[in-house]
Symmetry: C2
Subunit: 243 residues, 2 copies
Amino acid sequence: MTTPALDRDAGEPGDGRPAILLLSGGLDSTTLLALATRRGWTVHALTFRYGQRHGVEIERARALAAQYGVRRHVIADIDLREFGGSALTSDIAVPKDRSADVMSEGIPVTYVPARNTIFLSFALAFAETTGSQDVFIGVNSLDYSGYPDCRPEYIRAFEGMANLATRAGIEGAARLRVRTPLIDLTKRQIIELGQSLGVDYAMTSSCYDPRPDGAACGHCDACQLRLRGFAQAGTADPAAYAP
Amino acid sequence: MTTPALDRDAGEPGDGRPAILLLSGGLDSTTLLALATRRGWTVHALTFRYGQRHGVEIERARALAAQYGVRRHVIADIDLREFGGSALTSDIAVPKDRSADVMSEGIPVTYVPARNTIFLSFALAFAETTGSQDVFIGVNSLDYSGYPDCRPEYIRAFEGMANLATRAGIEGAARLRVRTPLIDLTKRQIIELGQSLGVDYAMTSSCYDPRPDGAACGHCDACQLRLRGFAQAGTADPAAYAP
């Protein structure tokens, strides 16, 4: 399976080069981890404990980082609850059972202000101290069209800013590349890519509002997108769902 | 006293509008706080505990925020020590008694990778949740010419990226402005500006390597730049220095 973004962003072999990979423990970033590893990148994984309700994904990220043998896994503590403004980090209710039409309208309350900018900024620091010129992020502009910081034009602007922000920018040496091989894929295509790479999706957690034991709710936007993707791929989601 | 940057970035009255201000408790950001307050902005101050050796500045920031009656003061915990790479957050020695010539060569070891990008990213989240369209940061391109993320072209690139990253970017409503009124000023000019605004510089801390009681070392780059600035302004630095 090839797509323009896959070819452009992950097509070339890593040849052991170091890269930073933002790993949430969800379906997208886990597929990305499998892809980057298969292509020969030496992955340094970065996960955030940012006050999200769905903290179970951090444990999944830890297990996945170990399974894929990443060079180093940093779990950074940042507290975005201080700023509020999102259903994922505050008392705003996570919406359930919304139709695809409603989901695609406007910016969802699960949008966390500036989250990808903050995540990529930490990745930039990690890249600079590990000598990495490449940052992998599993953003997707199709399923998450309402999130401003998942759009290709945002990613390119971040990359441009980053290349002015760091030693590389002033010394004219290495340039940072933000790689988004999943950006043009549907959820179905991401799942099919992951399956071709042998990803064990039972280990991943996508739910915005999981039970304490980690079981997914099955009704939030993330669960619905995921379940629909598996249905379209003609296979069952192996993850645990609350009855 | 007027300069192009002052006119452009802080000349217009705030008229009570909310703004985010990055407050380190040092000389520059305190002058900035006095300026923004005087111009009528409703300041939300943001300070970081990022694993810096010079943690005393956080206590100074707290006292200054109270003195200037900021609307809200968030002290965000982020651990940049995970990434290393700087004398300010690791065991690399803070350089002492360097001449101005040596200081201006290349990027100093006190540069913290991606620090301003991380700080501004949090400010972006804070701006979004407080309805602020303005972020004040006390960067200075003269004294810190070796820091890539203090340059005007970097600030403009961040601003452009930020306007694609947030609700404002997608809804086309408010645009974010990163205001850097001190960027073209010498240390002497910053001190003179602060004095005209009644800043009590005894409350500020600039030292990279202060004693536990907060007394400045007098020998690191930051102390030397500060002491030279006061000397050029023809006045004594009221801060406490270790004997």
